[in-house]
């Protein structure tokens, strides 16, 4: 099992890093961390959380939008029997692509927050999603963690693993798993 380190970078929406504000315990009343990725369901989960958790208590609550990037590793791939290290250029390219993706996901999430008049902090973590979200939620002293769940079928879930299942049991704080609205799947 490789070492997973989740590095968490927290930024205020659009402004420079404000690490201290996001990690200080109980600066604001109730901290809700929403994990987002590319999927529709995670953005739906964000909307859901804003509508039903933050609701009328905006002043009391602090929303943090969290995105987890996959690790960019230096990988070796065997080519004709010889191990080859991936050239630095391609690693940088991959890293850049990941960052672009992250920015896109975060900015879409921030747009949703803005359209609902919510000030959100953003956070980016790197690593394996399950562990990184758990760790980030802990570092951020989350009072509630929100994730979307696509409702993978039994078999897919067994092979692909499920982030939301993992979080429901391993996260230290309460976990809200948001499912797609009725009628949108099946």
């Amino acid at each position: 099992m490789e070492e997973v380190t989740a590095t968490v970078v927290i930024e205020g929406a659009g402004v420079g890093p404000e690490v201290a504000e996001a990690t200080t315990a109980e600066k604001k009343g109730f901290k809700v961390v929403v994990a987002v990725d590319d999927s529709e369901i995670s953005h739906y989960a964000l909307s859901w959380a804003i509508d039903y958790v933050l609701a009328n208590r905006r002043e009391d609550c602090q929303l943090v939008v969290l995105h987890v990037q996959h690790f960019v590793e230096t990988f070796m791939y065997p080519v004709a029997g010889h191990a080859v290290y991936a050239p630095t250029l391609s690693i940088d390219a991959v890293r850049k692509a990941h960052e672009e993706n992250s920015k896109r996901v975060i900015s879409r999430a921030v747009d949703i927050c803005k359209s609902k008049h919510v000030d959100a902090l953003t956070a980016v973590a790197e690593g394996d999603p399950k562990d990184a979200i758990c760790e980030a939620a802990e570092k951020l002293h989350a009072d509630l963690l929100v994730v979307g769940s696509r409702g993978l079928g039994m078999i897919k879930r067994a092979f692909l693993g499920s982030v939301s299942d993992y979080l429901a049991h391993h996260a230290k704080c309460p976990v809200l798993i948001v499912k797609p609205p009725k009628g949108s799947h099946k």
Partner: protein, 164 residues
Amino acid sequence: MAEAKERTGKKRVMVAIEEHECSHYALEWTLLNLKPTISSPLLLITVQPFSPFTYVAAASYSSPPQELIQSMQEHQKQAALTLLEMAKEICAKHGVDVETIMEMGEPKEVICQVAEQQNVELLVMGSHGRGAVERFFLGSVSNYCVQHAKCSVLVVKQDSGKKN
């Protein structure tokens, strides 16, 4: 985006009450933090499992006496009612109207079924915090519901030291 009628600002919530105090903790947590958006009434469900009777049969080497089964059922029913009463009191303390549902069967399946029948939008459960091995063998109601419920699920762990 969802239709306007779904976003009235309140949602139908059901809390699963089980024997462990973690479900009362989950109920309290929900009332403390989500009360404004819970539509009245809050649903409380408790499900009595059928299973205890299997070991009674085994212990008796044959079919157990009718009175024994009946008294066990009564006892279980009483226990379930007590749990519901305690939960109702917690809700009354917070000024929330409740509707209680008592069913018999396999808890995890029944909870999911009822959630669908009742058009529940949020299902709340406590989590025992059992270790991985225990959970594998004994099963976990919250695990099942997270996977199978069609609605959103909130799992509240009873974790000491996590302040609100």
